[in-house]
Symmetry: C2
């Protein structure tokens, strides 16, 4: 049994990066990789990588390095990617539609069951084979369906209200693109994608660099 | 003179969050806020907030708490948001178009100068008043224009090649949405938005929670 409670946030943050790099290596046809090579790709030390993997019982290196496909499979399991997820998208604006078209969704078993929006120009359109439904159907729809992940892509002003409906409707997790921090009850997992935060970090670093040059 | 070199990554990561919360408070008409109230909103301690602000010389609390608009302005300056940026978007697919429609861009002075794509169905279309140009014009366009930020929203397979053109063309910063880690020369600032990493962190936490319940 893996003692997941002891895995630090820093390790958790690096796991998706390992998966992403291993997927790229697999696509390129690479079969084996040493912790040294993987560390160079990822900008970490080889010892850091071995420490991270040890948090999950370690993934034995046999002969020369790790088997890329096997390591990707194991890390995918740790990330919970070894089974399908039922997904709904709330908000069919640009962000919602971009997520619907997102390649990872199709590839990794994130199945879009329904899409909701408030706008008459979006209701009824087909997005990746799913017809956009009116937002007022969301609550009743949730009483009849089990949803693993709701993608929240509505404007900030209504996001807390919609989030409350999602929680009430029993969704297990919310992937939030609205520019607010959602306070979740203990049974609901939330991850915020704050695009503005990423953009402002970029401008901060640009300004810092310019100050260093002057 | 602010000693920006001593500001830790952890502090830098929190600054955009302060700005986002202060903007929301300002929109709601809140004029003053104590470090205690701000800390509750942000899930930090009041002492943490005062420490963070001290990294930038501190923002004096006069009477009861901080003046929201003034604090937002000061943090905006630190984040480099007090002047306009010239932006291009490379890749007019769903992500590129979502970024083009992104409210923050209009509001905070990120001016989209040009959009490029390789697809004949996208070349020539109007996105937020900017006509999509063929990708082969990118390099010559860059010789004639100064670009602060390039939004990189092309498929992973071509992202390194396009990134090289951007660096050669003298862009100061790249906001990367391609699912790869770009290695930047010292003169170019890069920030990666890895949507897959955020999604996998969500599924990891869901799995961890489920394991805890069983």
């Amino acid at each position: 049994m893996i003692e997941r409670a002891h895995v630090s946030d820093a390790v958790v943050r690096r796991m998706p990066g390992y998966y992403r790099h291993l997927r790229e290596l697999e696509t390129q046809g690479t079969q084996r990789i040493s912790s040294q090579e993987l560390s160079e790709r990822m900008g970490l030390t080889a010892s850091q990588i071995r420490q991270d993997f040890n948090c999950f019982g370690g993934f034995g290196q046999q002969g020369y390095g790790y088997n890329v496909s096997e390591l990707k499979l194991r890390i995918g399991e740790i990330l919970g990617l070894n089974h399908p997820y039922s997904v709904i998208i709330v908000g069919a604006g640009n962000i919602g539609r971009a997520v619907a078209h997102y390649g990872t969704f199709r590839r990794e078993g994130f199945n879009i069951q329904a899409i909701f929006d408030i706008s008459p120009t979006l209701i009824g359109i087909d997005v990746q084979g799913v017809v956009v439904q009116p937002m007022e159907r969301l609550e009743s729809w949730l009483t009849e369906h089990t949803v693993d992940i709701a993608v929240l892509a509505v404007p900030a002003e209504v996001s807390r209200e919609v989030f409350a409906s999602l929680v009430k409707g029993g969704v297990r997790a919310v992937w939030n693109f609205a520019p607010i921090d959602l306070v979740a009850p203990p049974e609901v997992t939330v991850n915020n994608v704050h695009l503005t935060d990423s953009l402002y970090t970029l401008t901060f670093r640009m300004r810092e660099r310019q100050a260093g040059e002057n």
